[in-house]
């Protein structure tokens, strides 16, 4: 009996529709967020993440409406993010029905944002999303959907984020994202050992073995994937059965 490893489908949206792309570019339509949310809730997903990857001001009301409609389908936790730059942005997302908020670029630019959110909503509601890219012998933090580099080292930034009040790290490997070559095990293991909070691994998943590896060798507490679930390449139910047979603790759906 112990804490189950979580499987988390992610809906990248343009505000209204789910979209997908490789290495953050070449987006195409991948479905209706509300229908996908209902499907994942029934299939045994442990949480759901909904991101607004366009994050443009004028489409914000559309995204908030998407959160409301998605939340209405769920009996599991909902994390929302993309373009959250202020306490007020976060409040609107929480009011729409999100249990947790992810911050990324805005937190890199102004780390106090993490503390402000943590004070208002509690540490358990603040997820620091880090898009990490390998550079020689270390990983650095990228921002704006992986398009721009920052000067931050990913390990150092994760520690700072937790010290500021982040309750969880959503760690995406920019190198692996969309490649379906498997999660970035060394990156995930390094961050997971460096911080005291749970780490969600993201980027590169395709096969059930990838999930088994990231939980065992990568020390991930949760694993996130998008297109393999949307396209039906991998069902959450079968994935969990596979992991359970490998003695990896998961919550099996009824």
């Amino acid at each position: 009996m112990s804490l189950a490893h979580r499987i988390i489908p992610c809906l990248d949206t343009d505000g209204a529709r789910v979209v997908k792309g490789v290495k953050f570019v070449g987006l195409r339509d991948a479905g209706d967020p509300v229908a996908l949310a209902a499907r994942y809730n029934a299939e045994g997903a442990d949480e759901l993440v909904v991101l607004d990857i366009a994050a443009s001001r004028d489409r914000r009301p559309t995204f908030l409406e998407t959160i409301r409609r998605v939340a209405a389908e769920l009996a599991i936790p909902l994390t929302a993010g993309g373009g959250i730059r202020s306490l007020e942005d976060a409040r609107s997302v929480v009011r729409a029905g999100a249990d947790k908020i992810t911050v990324n670029t805005a937190a890199v630019e102004r780390p106090e944002l993490i503390s402000e959110l943590s004070r208002e909503f509690g540490r358990q509601a603040v997820v620091l999303a880090i898009d990490a890219k390998r550079l020689e012998d270390h990983w650095h933090v990228t921002v704006r959907g992986g398009r721009e580099s920052s000067s931050l080292d990913a390990l150092e930034w994760a520690k700072i984020g937790v010290a500021c009040g982040a309750g969880e790290i959503l760690l995406t490997s920019v190198d692996r994202d969309g490649t379906q070559l498997g999660f970035d095990t060394p990156l995930t293991a390094a961050i997971s050992q460096a911080v005291s909070v749970p780490v969600i691994a993201s980027g590169g998943a395709k096969l059930p073995e990838h999930f088994a590896q990231i939980f065992s060798e990568g020390a991930a507490d949760a694993a996130l994937a998008a297109s393999i679930f949307h396209d039906g390449v991998q069902s959450i139910r079968e994935l969990k059965q596979f992991l359970s047979a490998r003695n990896i603790e998961v919550r099996l759906p009824c």
Partner: protein
């Protein structure tokens, strides 16, 4: 029966409201002492900081009315912080007083494990539980907290372990409380809420 959802301005009120709606239960949000006086059943949801909840209860003059309702026998369900608030105090905000209707205090989970305790975990049943009736013993529930009632003088109906064993389900006369989030715990959570509604009816 109408459930009064104590809405002190923070937390997971909307999620609990949606979960009750899915079960076909009528509920109303309230933050007035007067409505607690007439309540048929009370749910205190909560997530976040202990201090925020306890301060809000005082600032909105809800403390006395809530304690009075609990002593009067009104069926009550505390969720997460709503469980913690029932005790004398918490290490999360040592300068503040809890409702102190149950003996014991809230402590930090040990730093030897990843915190917050975040995700789905199973329970160890300690004694017969009305809230857990009809729920499979190996069911998972969703937790999101760093503090818990570790030394519970009052025996809990079920415990959970993350670094330390702590009270996960408490039942004491009309007072029910869970450290996890039934409103986010899938079918098992829905069954628990249904059990509370039936007990309160």
């Amino acid at each position: 029966m109408n459930v009064t959802l104590l809405d002190y301005g923070a937390g997971n009120v909307a999620s609990v409201e949606r979960a009750l709606q899915r079960l076909g239960a009528a509920s109303q949000r309230s933050n007035s002492a007067e409505s607690l006086g007439n309540a048929e059943a009370i749910i205190l949801p909560g997530v976040g900081h202990y201090g925020a909840l306890v301060r809000a209860l005082d600032q909105q003059n809800l403390r006395a009315a809530l304690v009075d309702a609990l002593h009067r026998g009104v069926p009550f369900l505390g969720i997460c912080l709503g469980l913690q608030a029932l005790f004398k105090s918490s290490e999360e905000a040592p300068e503040l007083q809890g409702l102190h209707v149950l003996p014991g205090r809230v402590c930090a989970l040990p730093a030897s494990v990843k915190l917050p305790h975040m995700g789905w975990n199973q329970l160890a049943r300690k004694k017969d539980s009305r809230l857990l009736a009809g729920i499979a013993p190996d069911s998972f529930f969703y937790f999101a907290h760093s503090f818990a009632v570790i030394d519970c003088d009052l025996a809990a109906c079920a415990s959970c372990t993350h670094g330390a064993e702590f009270a996960a389900v408490i039942e004491h006369n009309n007072i029910f409380a869970v450290q996890f989030h039934p409103e986010k715990s899938g079918d098992a959570g829905a069954q628990l809420l249904k059990n509370f509604l039936r007990l309160a009816a």
